[in-house]
């Protein structure tokens, strides 16, 4: 008899706990009926910016939660194709093959990135000058010493050491490597044919560091080394960087202004948001533009990609679709003000105009969401 009593009490307690859990969930649901979570994933490069936006946007629209995971551009594109996220971030536009798997994808350039040359030369500060040809030769293993005649010729007045160059590259697949190898391909036919462009390539020489921090650590610890990292990363960590020659023949210091200028020149020929973007490359367009004065040549857009018709996504409803479009509109306008503080490059006005057109194309069940 005593045991049955105990069992009864135990069951009563369990029932109470379960009931209160249900009640809590019910209350929570009714209190936040309008709550919208926008799930996105992709590029790690734009993660700090999107993270900042998520916090700031939540202050303006408390019912909207932005959940962006920096899993890499490749992962982001994969999730976009599988329709498991509402928006994806990528440092490279979709290739023709990827676009075929995700028809009706819109490209929205959301910020601009630059890749800078960093080096560790004891006694030599920032501003060593490089050209695309010379960088390609260094990364091909053809220029092996710092006091090479070609490097000395464009750096008069700097006594370059008679030391072998230790080449450092990214070991992990990354958009930074894609931009970097695109640039080298444009300025060296040999690079283009033997190594090519990609998120990972078959490096002819050098050692690989994992991530921007891995490359930076290797360069900072290894005297007479050279590497490349994103502009934002170099600025935040106060790294010693070089100037790079553009097609106009000027040696350009990487800065928010010179990178924005590069995007501005490239934006003149941007396609419509729903057209194919697979060939869009600031690096390529600047490589032939001898009039692009003041533009830093190793520059690239980062994109947010979304479906043109949002009803293709499972679990999508009109309120969420509207919230997504409102957020994107905010990101390309007010959101850009947060970019310089984090050393991101804000979009120039002609790119914003293109983005506005693209965001207006987004529909849910055929209804235009931003008018």
């Amino acid at each position: 008899m005593k045991t049955t009593y105990k069992v009864a009490i135990t069951i009563a307690i369990i029932a109470l706990v379960v009931a209160s859990a249900f009640a809590y969930q019910y209350l929570e649901n009714s209190a936040t009926a309008q709550k919208v979570t926008l799930n996105g994933a992709g590029s790690t490069f734009i993660f700090p910016l999107v993270d900042k936006w998520a916090a700031e946007y939540h202050k303006i629209k408390p019912n909207v939660q932005i959940n962006y995971q920096g899993i890499g551009s490749g992962g982001g594109i994969q999730q976009h194709i599988e329709k498991t996220v509402y928006f994806a971030g990528t440092d490279a536009p979709l290739t023709a093959a990827q676009a075929a798997k995700a028809p009706n994808t819109l490209h929205i350039p959301i910020t601009i990135g630059g890749v800078v040359v960093i080096y560790n030369l004891p006694g030599i500060g920032k501003g060593l000058k490089f050209t695309g040809e010379i960088l390609a030769e260094i990364y091909l293993g053809k220029i092996t010493k710092w006091n090479d005649a070609r490097l000395a010729a464009i750096n008069p007045g700097i006594s370059l050491p008679d030391q072998p160059i230790t080449v450092v590259h990214r070991s992990d697949g990354s958009g930074t490597t894609f931009i970097w190898t695109s640039f080298l391909s444009d300025f060296s036919p040999e690079w283009k044919e033997t190594v090519g462009r990609g998120t990972s390539v078959n490096w002819p020489t050098g050692i690989g560091g994992k991530g921007s921090d891995g490359v930076t650590a290797l360069v900072q610890q290894t005297p007479y080394s050279i590497g490349y990292v994103e502009f934002t990363y170099a600025m935040v960590n106060n790294l010693t960087y070089g100037y790079v020659q553009n097609a106009a023949g000027e040696f350009i210091e990487p800065s928010i202004e010179s990178i924005a200028k590069a995007a501005q020149y490239a934006a003149v020929t941007l396609p419509r948001g729903d057209a194919s973007w697979s060939n869009v490359s600031i690096v390529d367009s600047l490589a032939n533009n001898t009039q692009a004065h003041g533009a830093y040549p190793i520059t690239s857009f980062s994109y947010i990609i979304v479906y043109k018709e949002l009803n293709v996504l499972p679990n999508m409803n009109e309120a969420t679709a509207k919230a997504l479009v409102d957020f994107l509109w905010w990101a390309v306008h007010d959101g850009q003000n947060y970019a310089p503080g984090l050393y991101y490059v804000p979009l120039p006005s002609n790119v914003v105009a293109n983005d506005e057109q693209t965001i207006r194309m987004i529909t849910f069940n055929g209804q235009q969401l931003h008018k």
Binding site: I11, G72, Q98, E193, R197, I207, G208, T222
Partner: protein
């Protein structure tokens, strides 16, 4: 009220019935069934893993066949040819270095804790050793980059080179990261696990063994040798466990090895690459099907390499065991 009145007797009946059934069947039979199911799930798991890996790498297997294993080129951008030989060699050599450094140290730690140190001190040290085993590998990697690499490059490798530079494996440029650094980090990572297991194994050796040796007039060292010999199968188990961790280690090794894809490094200071490292590095940004398939294929090869070295290790161990047992009998 009504519902609880109905539900309550129902639950009670169920419980009593279940307990009665338990008694009827005997707990032993049920336990036997459950443990058999759990044990056979290992086969199922391994089978599923192989199936998924083969499925994922099918495109690569069709394209390259056996050339994937002997191929020495990894070119995702231009020719789209993938070969994993350098990765296989890199994995094997770094693991071998890790074992070369790690086994003697682990053996020493294990013996010290079980045979030589006072019990309380031994307990304290073994607690710390077990704590080390719980440190995530990315921490070892970061420590490798920021502490170990600068230290080795500035204070160890130059002297190593001046002393042994005439041997080719100690010549060539010193980056800091590289094959030897990778081996050292792996060794540090496997020491806690291996030495903890070894200590436990030595502690299971019955005291009668030690007493018998001492009674025969053996020295402490001779007694210890008997303990090792008695516990050899456990010692070998510990080594295989360590080897398993070294072969599959990913994060730490990719942060310190330099990630250079080449068939054979010019020296111990040169950079290299391992199978696990390239998967971690490139899978996220692999952009086309054949590329992804090639990376999964590396995973498949890694699984088989791990299997083969486990089998080989067992075989070698059995042979040496038979050999030492023969001597002991004489």
């Amino acid at each position: 009220m009504k519902i609880s009145q109905k539900v309550f007797p129902f639950f009670c009946n169920l419980n009593i019935k279940f307990i009665l059934q338990l008694n009827h069947f005997k707990g032993d039979d049920i336990f036997k069934l459950v443990s058999a199911l759990v044990a056979s799930s290992i086969f199922l798991l391994l089978g599923l893993m192989v199936y998924e890996l083969v499925k994922g790498s099918w495109l690569s297997i069709q394209t390259f066949g056996l050339n994937f294993i002997v191929g020495t080129k990894w070119d995702p951008a231009v020719s789209k040819v993938f070969g994993a030989l350098p990765l296989i060699l890199g994995t094997l050599v770094t693991s071998a270095i890790a074992l070369l450094i790690g086994i003697p140290i682990s053996l020493g730690v294990g013996l010290a804790l079980s045979e030589y140190m006072p019990k309380k001190f031994g307990l304290a040290v073994s607690f710390l050793v077990e704590l080390l085993a719980a440190v995530p590998s990315v921490i070892y990697g970061l420590w490798g980059i920021f502490v170990l690499i600068p230290f080795l490059r500035n204070h160890v490798y130059p002297y190593l080179q001046t002393a042994f530079g005439f041997i080719p494996i100690f010549s060539g440029p010193i980056y800091g990261g590289g094959v030897l650094t990778g081996g050292i980090v792996l060794a540090i990572m496997i020491i806690p696990t291996v030495s903890a297991v070894m200590r436990d194994v030595f502690l299971t050796v019955p005291n009668s063994q030690r007493e018998a040796m001492i009674a025969l007039g053996a020295t402490k060292w001779e007694t210890t040798k008997t303990v090792i010999s008695y516990a050899r199968s456990g010692v070998i188990g510990a080594i295989i466990l360590g080897l398993g961790r070294a072969v599959g280690e990913t994060m730490a090794i990719t942060m310190v090895i330099g990630n250079k894809f080449q068939v054979w490094p010019s020296s111990l200071f040169d950079a290299w690459y391992t199978m696990a490292a390239i998967i971690a590095n490139e899978l996220l940004e692999a952009t086309y099907d054949l590329y992804i398939s090639a990376l999964i294929n590396v995973g498949l090869v890694l699984l088989f390499v791990a299997l083969i070295i486990n089998i080989l290790a067992r075989l070698i161990v059995w042979r040496t065991l038979r050999f030492t047992r023969g001597i002991a009998r004489e």
